[in-house]
């Protein structure tokens, strides 16, 4: 009897320490579980990234090879050249435009989805995912048919007497293609965020003299911010570095960063410059992401 009592009091006082130890142990076990992913990323991502990083400070020699001696910042300096600057700005602008359009299209849809019955939602979510079953390249070529001469779009506009809508090989075509390609990445996180919001909060807002628009602005939108941020980053980042869509739907005049970098590596054979551009691209993405999270964090 005595021992039992002592054991009890001991456990009672020892609990916090014991729990801390258990937590430490749990976190060690977690690390072990994460190991395969870490190793994979370190080997295939971090190491190759590091190589690119080294190259960005190297010099291109006369034969298109790379001299790994004589470190310099020449490649980074070239970014201020007007032609490079234009490519960079254009890419950021189109990625931004793509993100905004995706957000505007996806938001009402995600909201609509969240108001459906669970069975209906799942079916509709499958429909959102269906395009992924087809190769991305093939889908982009399909867009070429849609937008091209004698395609359904020009035929329609001509039939309506609006003249021929020649969109193929323009920036508009690129944005249309990018919006199409990345829309699901906006819909899914938005839906996940909106679905979690308690409907009664909207009712409370209406009850407290909020109009529909006010309820959206002051309740629904701020509460769906995590989804807006996640979706925007998921669309903005790949749009900024997009290669396939601009290459297939864009014209020669609308070179974007992704294509420009590929050209440096494959055509111009200027690996250091390509590497430097890749790092600038990553930097832009990183900064945008951080700013966005900060801003979102404040609203939440």
């Amino acid at each position: 009897m005595k021992t039992v009592v002592r054991a009890d009091t001991e456990t009672a006082t020892a609990t916090p320490e014991f729990e801390k130890a258990a937590l430490r142990q749990e976190s060690r076990r977690g690390l072990f579980l994460a190991m395969p992913a870490y190793l994979y990323l370190i080997f295939f991502f971090v190491i190759s990234l590091f190589i690119v990083f080294i190259y960005s400070f190297a010099t291109r020699n006369r034969f298109g090879g790379t001299d790994l001696s004589g470190w310099n910042l020449d490649s980074y300096a070239r970014i201020s050249e007007p032609i490079v600057r234009d490519v960079l700005f254009r890419s950021v602008w189109l990625a931004f435009l793509t993100t905004v359009i995706c957000l505007v299209i996806a938001y009402p849809f995600a909201y609509f989805l969240s108001t459906r019955r669970v069975a209906v939602r799942n079916i509709m979510l499958v429909f959102v995912m269906i395009p992924f079953w087809t190769n991305f390249l093939v889908r982009n070529f399909a867009w070429r048919v849609i937008l091209g001469n004698d395609g359904p779009l020009t035929n329609t506009t001509e039939f309506l007497g609006l003249g021929s809508a020649e969109l193929l090989f323009t920036q508009t075509a690129v944005v249309l293609g990018l919006v199409y390609g990345y829309l699901p990445f906006m819909i899914l996180p938005l839906y996940a965020a909106i679905e979690r919001i308690d409907r009664r909060l909207l009712e409370a807002s209406r009850d407290l003299y909020g109009t529909g628009l006010q309820s959206f602005r002051h309740v629904l939108f701020p509460l769906s911010m995590p989804g807006v941020i996640a979706g925007s980053i998921l669309v903005f980042v790949p749009s900024l570095g997009a290669y396939v869509t601009p290459e297939i739907l864009g014209g020669a005049k609308t070179t974007l960063l992704g294509s420009y970098i590929v050209t440096q590596f494959l055509t111009a054979r200027n690996w250091p410059f390509g590497a430097a551009l890749s790092f600038v691209l990553m930097l832009v993405m990183l900064v945008t992401t951080i700013v966005y999270f900060r801003k979102g964090g404040r609203t939440l």
Binding site: E203, A204, D207, Y209, P222
Partner: protein
């Protein structure tokens, strides 16, 4: 005088389901009004109809004489305290309370001042900058009240306002709500499934079941003169002794004994005599008060509550529950004891389906 809220012929259907069935109801200004019933009886839907969160399928609904049946919630002079409060999680207490004023376009200075006054009134001074998630259930409840009352609604609607609180806090809040209602002087319409809560707090109670309004009366009337079997059974504890009306003074019970029971039913109607446990009295077999109705039986169970004793009584044809206050010198009966249950004929009510 116009009523604060007037429902006439209100029906609400969701597809094939009739949630509210042809309800006529009039709530006076300054009244503490409870809507009581089991879950799914239509009480919450009725409240939501008044708030404008649902629209009636049929019937008309007015608030202080103004027809509001088709108006959206933001156009109605009522506010709601939601079940589980529905506080905005992304806003502070101050912002939550000021929400309604802000939406109405009232200037920042006034909004802040009135919100702070209201926060003080519900005794949350010093917590204005907190987020709802950092507060206890009782505090959240006060925020919800402040958020609604700051708008000076003409009627305050409360949907199970105390349901999420533990017993002790609930009893405290019952008194506070009552006091608050007297202070602000407007009608409070609150929905509850807790009959005790309804009896303690309300000036009048509406009992609902299956979308229908069964009785609207003061707590005393509802308890003493229930409109039908459901109300008698739902409000408080009761024994329902089945029988048939013989004349306006007499009911013949199932076992053939006729008892005195004033009623308004025609002879031959199947009724039940509602005998509250505390209105019945037990004595040794053969003993009973002069002029009281009585039946014989024996004690089956005894539950000791401290302040009272609950006897489970077995009659020939049914079981009864009798509550005896535990006065000093009260006679205690053991299980198996043969007893007579008697009651004052004026202390019962007669109900039909």
């Amino acid at each position: 005088m116009t009523s604060a809220v007037e429902l006439s012929g209100i029906t609400k259907r969701f597809g094939d389901v009739v949630a509210v069935d042809n309800v006529d109801l009039s709530i006076a200004d300054g009244e503490f009004f409870a809507m009581l019933g089991p879950s799914g009886c239509g009480k919450t839907t009725t409240l939501r109809l008044i708030a404008g969160l649902e629209f009636p399928t049929e019937g008309s609904l007015s608030i202080f004489g103004q027809e509001v049946g088709t108006l959206t919630p933001d156009k109605r002079p009522v506010n709601t305290v939601f079940q589980n409060y529905a506080l905005f999680p992304h806003l502070t207490v101050l912002e939550n309370v000021g929400f309604g004023l802000k939406m109405q376009g009232i200037d920042k200075e006034t909004t802040r001042r009135r919100s702070m006054e209201m926060i003080e009134l519900v005794q949350l001074d010093g917590l204005a900058e907190r987020k709802p998630s950092q507060m206890s259930g009782g505090q959240q409840q006060r925020v919800a009240l402040a958020r609604a009352l700051v708008n000076q609604p003409k009627v305050l609607l409360l949907d199970e306002p105390l349901g999420a609180l533990d017993l002790k806090l609930r009893q405290e809040m019952q008194l506070e709500l009552k006091k608050l209602q007297r202070d602000v002087g407007i009608s409070f319409v609150f929905v509850t499934h807790d009959q005790e809560e309804a009896l303690t707090m309300s000036d009048r109670i509406a009992v609902m079941d299956d979308g229908k309004l069964l009785q609207v009366a003061t707590p005393e009337e509802i308890y003493e003169r229930p409109a039908n079997r459901f109300v008698a059974d739902f409000i408080g504890q009761t024994n329902l002794l089945e029988g048939t009306v013989s004349d306006s003074e007499t009911v013949i019970l199932e076992n053939g004994v006729s008892v005195r029971a004033k009623n308004g039913f025609s002879a031959g109607t199947h009724v039940a005599v509602s005998l509250r446990p505390e209105r019945a009295h037990i004595q040794s077999q053969g003993e009973f008060e002069e002029g009281w109705s009585h039946v014989n039986g024996f004690v089956e169970t005894v539950t000791y509550l401290g302040n009272a004793l609950i006897y489970g009584i077995k009659l020939d044809w049914m079981d009864l529950e009798v509550r005896e206050e535990n006065h000093p010198g009260v006679e205690l009966y053991k299980p198996g004891a043969e007893i007579t249950v008697s009651w004052d004929p004026d202390a019962i009510s007669v109900v039909s389906d």
